[in-house]
Structure formats: C-alpha cells, structure tokens
Symmetry: C2
Subunit: 158 residues, 2 copies
C-alpha cells in the first residue's frame, strides 16, 4: 500500500504538518528560562548578584499565576526567580511540598499551538489547552510533568 493510500481521508494539511514536524526537525529552539521557586525574592536576587554578578533584566507580577518574577539574563536565556504573591497560588503549594528549587523548564518554540498539538499526539498532557499570555508579551502553555519524567515544561513563543 502506498503512503498516500494509507492516509486518513479526514486528515487536513494542518494535521499532516503538525504530525510531521517532530520527525522533521526539533521544535525546541532554545532554553528560554529555568524557573526557580524561592521564598524570599530579594534574598535570592542578592545571592545571584553577589555570587555571579547577575543583573535583573525584567521584573513583573503575573496575577494569573499568583507570582512575582524577576528575570536574570544568562546568554540568550534567563534565570527566572519566582515567588508566590498569595498563599493559594500553585507555587506556594510547590514550596510547601518540595521546598525551594527548580519549578519548571521553559523552552522557546516558533508556534505554541502547533507544539501543543504535536506533544498531545505523542501522549503528553497540556495543562493549558490553549496558548495564553505570559510575561514579556509572550504566548505560553504549561505541560504536565506526569508525561515528561517529572519535569514541568513551559512552552514560550515570542
């Protein structure tokens, strides 16, 4: 049977492009940032400044996630220090359960929606079913750590 004959007749061009993307080329174009949950943001900023000369590039409160973040530029990537601004935020729960440390790894992609389609097809579970607004005018989506060997992954476009 030819590959053409094996095609699902309901499959669209977009479906085929999404399904082929992973086989053709890597879709993660850079490590955008490593998100590190901390209890005391000023103390953490002091550590990174004193020990590594790291400078704050960007600071923002993200009400949707219940956190305040500070981004330290490291080459083409960032270290994102994040701390909860209310006791109900998921990051507050993370700190209670796991303590301070790496909370998520964020990868740059060209198209968050296409990446979500591809990784869902591969059996991973999006936390955000659709892309939403992130910091620095980006479009983002979290992916559940249950399908990725325990790593909470964030996809970042823009």
């Amino acid at each position: 049977m030819s590959p053409l004959a094996a095609r699902d007749p309901n499959e669209t061009d977009e479906d085929r492009e999404a399904a082929q993307a992973g086989q053709d080329r890597p879709i993660l174009t850079a490590i955008d940032h490593v998100g590190i949950a901390v209890r005391d943001l000023p103390a953490a900023l002091d550590t990174y400044r004193d020990a590594f000369g790291a400078v704050v590039e960007f600071r923002e409160e993200l009400p949707d996630d219940g956190v305040e973040v500070a981004l330290l530029k490291v080459g083409e990537s960032f270290v994102q220090l994040l701390t909860p601004v209310d006791d109900d935020s998921p990051v507050a729960a993370f700190l209670d359960e796991r303590g301070e440390g790496v909370h998520h790894v964020a990868y740059r992609v060209d198209d968050v929606a296409a990446a979500l389609a591809q990784l869902t097809e591969a059996g991973l579970e999006p936390i955000d079913e659709e892309p939403r607004a992130g910091s620095r005018d980006t479009s983002i989506a979290f992916v559940h750590p249950g399908g990725t060997q325990g790593t909470l992954i964030l996809l970042v476009e823009g």
Copy 2:
C-alpha cells in the same frame, strides 16, 4: 582612607581581579544544560523525540558521577538526561528521595576556578573545591544547593 590604603597587603592581582569580576560583569555566559534525572533513559529519550523532535547529540558514561548521560541539543544549550549506572551513585539517592525531575542547572563560565573563588567569597559552598573533568572535555565544579535557594548548580568551562 584611600582604597589603596585599605587593600590587604597579601592580596595578589589575581585575588583582586577575581573579587572584582562579579561586580563588573555577569560571569554566567549561557545555560549550558539542564540536568534531568530519569529512571529509564531509553523511555525518556523516546519522550523527547516523539513530543519535541529532539535528537541525541552526545551520549557518555561518567564513572566519577556514577551516571550515564544523553545530551539533546536545544539552541545553544542542552537537555541532559541522566540515569544512575550503580545503586550507590548520588543520582540514585536523588531519585529515591525526590523522584524523577530536574537534578541540576549548569551554567557556562569562562574560568571555573575564578568563578569558584568568587562564589565562595559570596558565601556559597563548592562541592568540588577544584575544577574537575566533565563530559565533552569540559572542566566542571558543582556548587551546593544549600547556598543557592535549593538549586544544585554546575559550572562548566570549555
């Protein structure tokens, strides 16, 4: 009192350069890799290939650390998947205590020895007092997470 008069008479030019480096410029030049501890390396490689099209760039056993590692290229950085090759390795203990997930964050620096001097001066605690050989012919040193808000940091030169 002038700055000159306040100098420690035993301080060398190298000491002064190391002490000033952090105040003058960031010493972390890139995220070299994010190290992710996994129990089943082939299964993890399948996940990253199927979901993200990620390709193995480099694979190596590191007997000093009791691990096998696979490096997946992401822009100028890597995802390092690591798994213990013996039950006594620190990574085996990490998996027992914390489960799968991010094990360390590795930053590129121009000079590991100078970076160790600077971060020790800032109150952080090196695990490796001196640089040692890492994968890919690099020179590396781990820094204790106790001084860095819970993040095990690896410095990578070369």
